[in-house]
Every structure is written in structure tokens, then in C-alpha cells.
């Protein structure tokens, strides 16, 4: 049995290495382009190991562009959006999952249906909404947009997880005298840790990669986010250099990956195996 298992694991590892490589091909391509001297994404003799190796493109990204400033803007937006998202989604999802009140079912159904609206023209409406409030060209405006956009997902996703946590646990706590706040913070949240992390990660990645609102509503390079800055660097016909763009794309993605890697150990539920029967 042991041996069989070891062979199984070996095959599994090979499988994942292959899959990961497959998934990474376009990214490795970008990586190779970013290390290449010259100004082309294409070439008839591509190899993953660049022929004319250079780090200049990375230097150009880090020093010629205000990348640190953009990073700062992005971090501010991301941290605030994730925090506020959680602050509104957790009580909201708790309410939708645990508290029986009139109209609850309709809210849940209605929220999902809202996703079917083709939002191509929403930008205009949002502008009309934020402009009188003086929120155009401000970070607060963007944060409201981001939190609002992700709120449905956060509510529903958290609600789904909350629903899966057996009610008896909090009932017991209720008997012990815990109030709602304590129930949320002391019981639900530890149990729903994976859900919180997934939801937070979703918001984070959305904010990190969002560029349409960022470029339209923010003016001036110093207000750009990373994604917006990257967009402005984009290799167009008139300007732009593919290797620099490729380098910038990778630099932008890196923080997300680091966070994702670091956060995984918290992604295990407080619900221990076999602890509670479903």
C-alpha cells in the first residue's frame, strides 16, 4: 500500500509539474522577452533562454517609470477596498445567511440576477453619480466603485460558506450568552477562514488588475495605479517597447503571487476534519 501510494504521489507530482509548465508557457514567453535586448515581442527563432541577455528592461521599468508611486497608489486602493469590502460583506452575509427576515430570499436571488446586466455603458452612469460629489479623480471615488462592484460577489460568496457552517455551533454559543458580534468574530470568522481569504483575494486581484476606471477617472501619471500605468506603457504602433511592457507586466503580477503564496497557510478551515458532521 505504501509503495503504491508513493508511486501515485510521484505520478501526481509529475502531473502537476507538467500542468504548471503548460500554464506558464505564455508567462515564460513574456519573461524571456523581458530579458531580451532589442525591441520586439516576436522573432522567428524564439527560445526561452534569451540570446542577448539584458536586465535593462527591468531597470527601465523600475527607474524610468514612477512604478513605486503607482505601487503606492495601488496598495492604498487595494488595502482600503479589501478592508471596506470585508467590513460590509461579512455582516451582510451573516445577516443573509443567519437572520431570517422578510425579503431575504428575494435579495439573494435579485443580487445574482444583477450580474446579467451588460455593464459596458455603466461607466457613464457612475460618472454622473460621482461627479456631483466631487469624487472624480480621487482615490475615494475609485474605492467606492471597486467595493460596490465586488460587493455582490463578497456577499454571496461568504453567504455560501456561512450556510455550510452548522447552526448548532452558534446556537450553543448563544446559550452561553454570546451576542451577534461575538458570534461573528469568535465563531463564524475562524470557521470561514478559507472563504474570507478567497473573498479578500478576489477583491485584491480585481483592484490590482482594474485599469478601465483607473485610467478614465484618474488624471496624471502620478495618480495612476500599477495596472493603469502598465496600460499607458502598452506597446502601441506609435510608441512603447514590448520588452519593457513584458517586464512591467511581470513586475506587476509579482506582489499578488507573493501574497497568494504567503496566505495559503491560513486558508485551512478552523473546522477540523471530522469535527462536525455536515
Amino acid at each position: 500500500m505504501k509503495k503504491l501510494e508513493r508511486i501515485g504521489l510521484f505520478i501526481l507530482n509529475i502531473f502537476f509539474i507538467t500542468v504548471c509548465f503548460g500554464v506558464m508557457v505564455p508567462i515564460l514567453y513574456a519573461f524571456s522577452v523581458s530579458l531580451n535586448a532589442g525591441n520586439s515581442i516576436l522573432g522567428s527563432d524564439f527560445s526561452f533562454i534569451p540570446r542577448a541577455f539584458t536586465l535593462n528592461n527591468y531597470r527601465a521599468v523600475l527607474f524610468d517609470q514612477p512604478v513605486l508611486l503607482w505601487l503606492g497608489n495601488t496598495v492604498i486602493l487595494a488595502v482600503s477596498s479589501v478592508t471596506i469590502s470585508m467590513l460590509v460583506a461579512v455582516p451582510g452575509a451573516f445577516s443573509l445567511s443567519r437572520l431570517k427576515f422578510r425579503g431575504r430570499k428575494h435579495i439573494v436571488k435579485g443580487l445574482i440576477l444583477l450580474y446579467s446586466f451588460p455593464a459596458i455603458l455603466s461607466m457613464f452612469a457612475i460618472y454622473r453619480l460621482l461627479s456631483p460629489l466631487g469624487l472624480i479623480n480621487t482615490k475615494i471615488g475609485l474605492i467606492i466603485i471597486y467595493v460596490g462592484t465586488m460587493a455582490i460577489f463578497g456577499l454571496l460568496n461568504l453567504k455560501g460558506y456561512f450556510d455550510s457552517i452548522p447552526g448548532e455551533i452558534e446556537e450553543a454559543a448563544g446559550i452561553d450568552g454570546a451576542n451577534t458580534f461575538q458570534k461573528i468574530t469568535l465563531i463564524m470568522l475562524p470557521l470561514a477562514k478559507p472563504a474570507l481569504i478567497v473573498t479578500g483575494m478576489m477583491v485584491l486581484i480585481y483592484v490590482w488588475n482594474e485599469y478601465i476606471y483607473a485610467i478614465t477617472f484618474m488624471t496624471g501619471q502620478s495618480n495612476y495605479t500599477l495596472a493603469a500605468g502598465l496600460y499607458s506603457l502598452q506597446a502601441t504602433e506609435m510608441s512603447g517597447s514590448w520588452p519593457v511592457f513584458a517586464a512591467a507586466s511581470l513586475v506587476v503580477s509579482l506582489p499578488i503571487l507573493v501574497i497568494f503564496f504567503a496566505i495559503q497557510k491560513y486558508m485551512v478551515s478552523g473546522l477540523t476534519a471530522g469535527g462536525v458532521k455536515m
Binding site: 516576436l42 460618472y127 485610467i215 501619471q221
Partner: protein, 406 residues
Amino acid sequence: MKRIITIITIFIIMLLPVGCGGSGSESDEANRAVKLTIWHDKEEGVAAALKEELDKLKPEIEVNLERKSGLTEALKLVGNDPKAAPDMYFFAHDKLGVYSEMGILTPITEFISEDELLNFLPMTISAATYRGEIYQLPIYFETLLFMYNRALMKDEQVPKTTEELYQFMQSGAGGRFGFIEQHSTAYYSAGWIHGFGGGIIDLDGTALLDNEETIRALGYRKKFVEMMPGETEYATVTVLFIEGRAASTIGGPWLVPTIRQSGVDLGFAKMPVVSETGLPIAPFSGIQGLHVLKVAADNPVKNGAIKEVLTLLLNPDIGVAMAKASGCAPAHLLSYEQDEIKNDELVMMMREMAESAVPMPNIPEMDVMWVVLDNLLVDINMRGVDVVEACFEAQKRAENLIRAMR
């Protein structure tokens, strides 16, 4: 219970400053200087050249250049909002019809007299004119050029006519591809249509896709397309040319630095003449310049400053500086009396091209033509649809879309 209320209170407090957080950043100490904002979408070097010139107006007028991605869409949103709109923008001329119809532009002739524009290339002024009003102060322009790789196409081999070009392609003398261009994009095919005496849309917004000239041009061009690779977006064409797998191409001046950097011995030539008509291939040109927004013109404080800015930019030197930074050609005729321009082969070639090049139509209806013509070219060049049928079909679609604009 209390804590929940606390949380909610905290939340409300967090949302409160939203209302007043806004535009505080700009309220610097009450400086006497009039501040103007110009949006643009240009590379740093080009913007720096403009900025350097505009800094001469300091300390009375302080001009702030802001690079704006997605400039055209942003202007539609904020165009008449004094709080969010820029005072001027620096961009190609082809959107000015849209903005003029929207009512967010002011003619530059409200600030400078038409006489002062006499020294500009006529092409640039006609490009800046929409319904009889001039909305752009032209600074520089670009147009496509015939370029060849001297290693693959000798100077004496350069085709004078399209038939010569075709023979060169067929002879295989130029390597894998004798000639390539982005054959299935509206911008690049316009030159051929003009070469047959046709057009894409006329001044009053009538689509011309089912005209005999257009049909003949696209039908004739097909035999060239068949000898080019199927996929010819910008990156492919550039790389094929740079790698020496294509002997000649029609491309913009923005390509030149990249090509030269790659070590290709680059030659420029006049556009081949269409054998059938005797007219040269006449590509589109784009004129870059400054536009004034109505919200700024209506502001009595800014109005005077705008006049100063425009007057300063009438100076031929700025065209030279910006043309050099962008690789394009100045719009001001006097710029061409300067040695550094006179000795620049590329710029002089564009100056010559300006005689035949056609500015992109600036009427709003052109917006939909890009899409329709692109699709028409795909139909003819890549999907094998009959030319006449495809052109009639496209004309119908264009007419429908133009009607749908109103």
C-alpha cells in the same frame, strides 16, 4: 450589540469624508499664475518638448501637461464639466468633429486670427477645419511612407508604379516577401483607394464604399495581398521587415527608430503610382495639435492665458522641436527653412508626401467607417468574398450605422 453599532458607526465615519475628500489637492496657495491643464497621449520626449516651450510663459501662466490614457473616451465623459475637464488637449485631428458636434470645443480662431495660420501647410489647416471653423492649432503631422531594405531592394529596383511593385514581388528578388503592409486595416488600405481616385466617406457623411473607384481599388489590391502573409497586424509586419524577410513596406515614421536600431539599411522612396490611374498611393495623414475646450474658453481668467499659449505655439520652432522628438514632420511652413529639418531625409519625405496625403476625415461619421472598412477588407482579403458583393454589403452596413448615429 454595542460593538456592532460601533462597527457600523466606524463604517459611516469612513464613508463621510468621501463627500469632502475631493479636489482639495489643487487648491494650492493662491498663486497669481493662471493655471492651465493640457491633456495629451504622447511619449515623454514629445511632451517634454512642448512643456519646455510652454514654460516660457512662466510665471504668469503655468501650463500643466497631463498624460491621459483613454483620452478620447475620457473627454466624452468630462468634456463640459469645468471641474474635471482639461483646458486644452493635444491630440490627432480626427476626433474634432465628434467633439465639435458634442459642443465641447471652441474654434481657435477666437484666440488667433486666421491670417496667422497662413504659414501652415494647407493640408494641416484643412484637417483642422470642421464645418467652416478651425478647431486645431496644428503642430506636426505623420503620414505613411514607402520604405525599403537596401540589402534586399536596390535603389534602382525601387518600383515607380504598382505594376513594377507587383513584378518585384513576383520575381522573388526581395526574399520571402517583396512587399508587405497591414493589408486588412482601414488606415493602410485608404492609400490605395485614394490612388484610384476613390474615398471612404465624403464631407457630408456619405459612405463611398460601393463607388466604382473603391471596388476597383480593393479588387486590384487583392493580387498583392495574396502574396503577403495572412496575418499582418503591426507587430508581424514590423518584425518581418526588421528580420529581413520582407524587402519593402509602407509604414509610419514611428517605425523608423526601431528599424534603424536593428541595423537595416533603410531607404525611403516616393509612393508607387497606381498604373491604371497614374495617381500615387495617397495614404492618410494624422495631424497632431492643440484643441481648446469650451469650458476653458468661457472662463474669463483662462481665456487670456489660452490666447497666450496659442500665440506662443504659432512659432515654427515648436514644430521643429516636437517633430524631432516624435519623428514626424512640422506643420509650420517656416520650420522647413531650418537646417536641421532640411537635412532630415525622413522629414523632407513626409513634407513631400503632404502634397498628396489625405488627412483622415474629421467628421463624426468616420468613427463607424473604421469598423466597417476593416470588416470589408477582412471579407475580401481573408474570407474570399466577392469584391463587388462585399462592397455593396459594407456600404449598406455603413449607411445603417451612420443612420443609427442620430
